[in-house]
């Protein structure tokens, strides 16, 4: 047992401590993103004038990133399936593809923000843009963090080590996808 991370070897109430920690993390993230989105919804309803700002978000770019994240979620769950069969190298390959989608998401996001900022829609332009940059920015930070952690898990999985962690990072990744599923209609469709 020496040198073996305890989170993958000990269970509590039928759940590995590692997975329990990830679920706790997700619960806290629900409060963070839930509070942010709930605040946005109530302010958006109370500020009909925000529609003028919301009209400038690009639904095509938001849609593209939605598909990128949905597909990355598919690759993450397929990596989990491969890890479940004990096929670490295949799980690692699929995690690598997932990371690729994460990078693609960030590149699209960078292009989108550059365009918007160059047109004067900065974080100080209006209340709408403040929410827009904060919500999308925090989400993008989660993408970056997830991709980095996924890189470490991928390197271990390639050697068939700690395959249980493939599911853990997958859980986190699906949650990040879940947040975007709600951000997309809120920021891009509700004009």
């Amino acid at each position: 047992m020496m040198g073996k991370p305890i989170a993958t070897t000990r269970t509590v109430m039928g759940v590995s401590t590692g997975k329990l920690a990830v679920w706790w993390l997700i619960v806290s993230e629900i409060v963070i993103f839930g509070g942010l989105l709930a605040s946005y919804v109530m302010h958006r309803i109370g500020h009909p004038e925000w529609a003028a700002s919301a009209a400038h978000t690009d639904v095509r770019i938001g849609g593209l990133n939605t598909m990128v994240l949905l597909t990355s979620s598919l690759m993450a769950v397929l990596a989990h399936a491969a890890a479940g069969r004990g096929d670490g190298p295949l799980a690692a390959k699929r995690l690598a593809v997932t990371i690729g989608f994460a990078v693609m998401f960030l590149c699209v996001k960078a292009y989108e923000w550059t365009t918007e900022i160059s047109h004067g829609y900065t974080i100080t332009a209006s209340g709408f843009w403040q929410f827009y940059y904060v919500a999308a920015g925090i989400h993008a930070a989660h993408i970056i963090a997830g991709a980095i952690i996924m890189g470490f898990v991928m390197m271990q999985a390639r050697r068939n080590h700690e395959l249980g962690r493939v599911e853990l990072i997958g859980l986190y990744w699906h949650f990040v996808d879940l947040v975007w599923i709600f951000l997309f209609p809120l920021l891009y469709i509700a004009k």
Binding site: V31, P48, G84, F184
Partner: protein, 320 residues
């Protein structure tokens, strides 16, 4: 080695579909085919949620937008939670933890939203939001009422830019009693500011857009619909705003002209007739306004000093 948790989720018999031949190199078993099918469903739902709002807008049915955008988002989230995250396969306390967090968010929303969504409180007000909301229901357009209820909150009842909300924002709302403003006022700029807001002119973002509010029918017009009402109402509002234009400055008395005793006294020239309505054409405010020519000067003509004084007077009437 895979953990026990990682292996258990795929053992719940998600469908019995077989992997199509073209995908066998990519999907290794029926469970993976199940995930792929889920992804295809999510993609289909995404396409509906993408197209739905456009259809809703074309048909002027807001409900379609709401259902396709947010209703489908909930369905997509449910699929991800159930089929990708396997939440239902976890012990009950896991989803109870998540549900508790959601309940607190809902409590937060319903406790706070009534205040946040309101347009005024004991010590604050959301003038822009209130203005937009109120004007969306204008049918019997009265420029005086619109000015008082919508514009005066920022511009002030007398148009001095000192309304209760105007004193709290920067840049300050336009002072329509300022000669400096009218010296450069332009009809098209005023119309654009009213219809499309200050943002459309690169000016104050606090000046809301009234195009939708002035459109025909409840809730305003719709994109692509030819609606001349906003333009007509804007003209009425501009005419109302023009009542704040300050009167012309008193013309300076013409400088005394030394008249040589040996020369005949010039015949007094009548003052040029300046019609205020015509004078406004100098601001571009009355399209098609015509200049009323001044009476022909007496044959003997004024001196150069008198002409200069008169030009200064006319300039004062027209441009200030």
């Amino acid at each position: 080695m895979a953990s026990a948790d990682a292996a258990t989720h795929d053992d719940h018999g998600h469908g019995n579909g077989k992997v199509p031949g073209a995908l066998r190199g990519f999907l290794k078993d029926d469970h993976e085919w199940f995930y792929f099918q889920t992804w295809m469903i999510l993609t289909g739902l995404f396409i509906i949620s993408y197209i739905g709002p456009f259809i809703g807008e074309a048909l002027h049915m807001f409900a379609i937008t709401m259902v396709t955008a947010f209703g489908i988002a909930v369905v997509k989230a449910g699929l991800v939670i159930k089929r990708f995250m396997h939440l239902m396969d976890e012990p009950k306390f896991i989803w109870q933890m998540n549900a508790t967090a959601l309940v607190f968010i809902l409590l937060f929303f319903f406790w706070v939203a009534p205040d946040v969504m309101s347009h005024e409180g004991a010590n604050w007000g959301n003038q822009a939001g209130a203005s937009i909301t109120m004007t969306t229901h204008i049918e019997d357009f009265d420029p005086d009422v619109v000015w008082t209820e919508r514009c005066a909150t920022c511009h002030g009842e007398e148009g001095r830019g000192d309304g209760p909300a105007g004193t709290a924002i920067y840049p300050r709302p336009t002072d329509f009693t300022s000669r400096a403003y009218w010296a450069t006022a332009d009809h098209d700029i005023m119309a654009t500011a009213i219809l499309d807001g200050g943002v459309a002119l690169g000016r104050s973002r606090y000046m809301p857009a009234f195009r939708t509010a002035f459109a025909a029918g409840h809730g305003g017009g719709h994109e692509g619909e030819v609606d001349t009402l906003p333009g007509e109402r804007t003209e009425q509002l501009i005419a109302r705003i023009m009542t704040f234009r300050p009167p012309p400055e008193a013309a300076p008395a013409p400088a005394p002209v030394a008249v040589p005793t040996r020369e005949p006294t010039p015949t007094p020239t009548p003052e040029p007739v300046i019609d205020d309505t015509v004078a406004l054409d100098g601001y571009g405010l009355i399209p098609g306004g015509e200049v009323v020519p001044a009476p022909a000067p007496a044959p003997t003509g004024p001196s150069e000093a008198e002409l200069a004084a008169r030009a200064q007077y006319i300039q004062g009437r027209v441009f200030n």
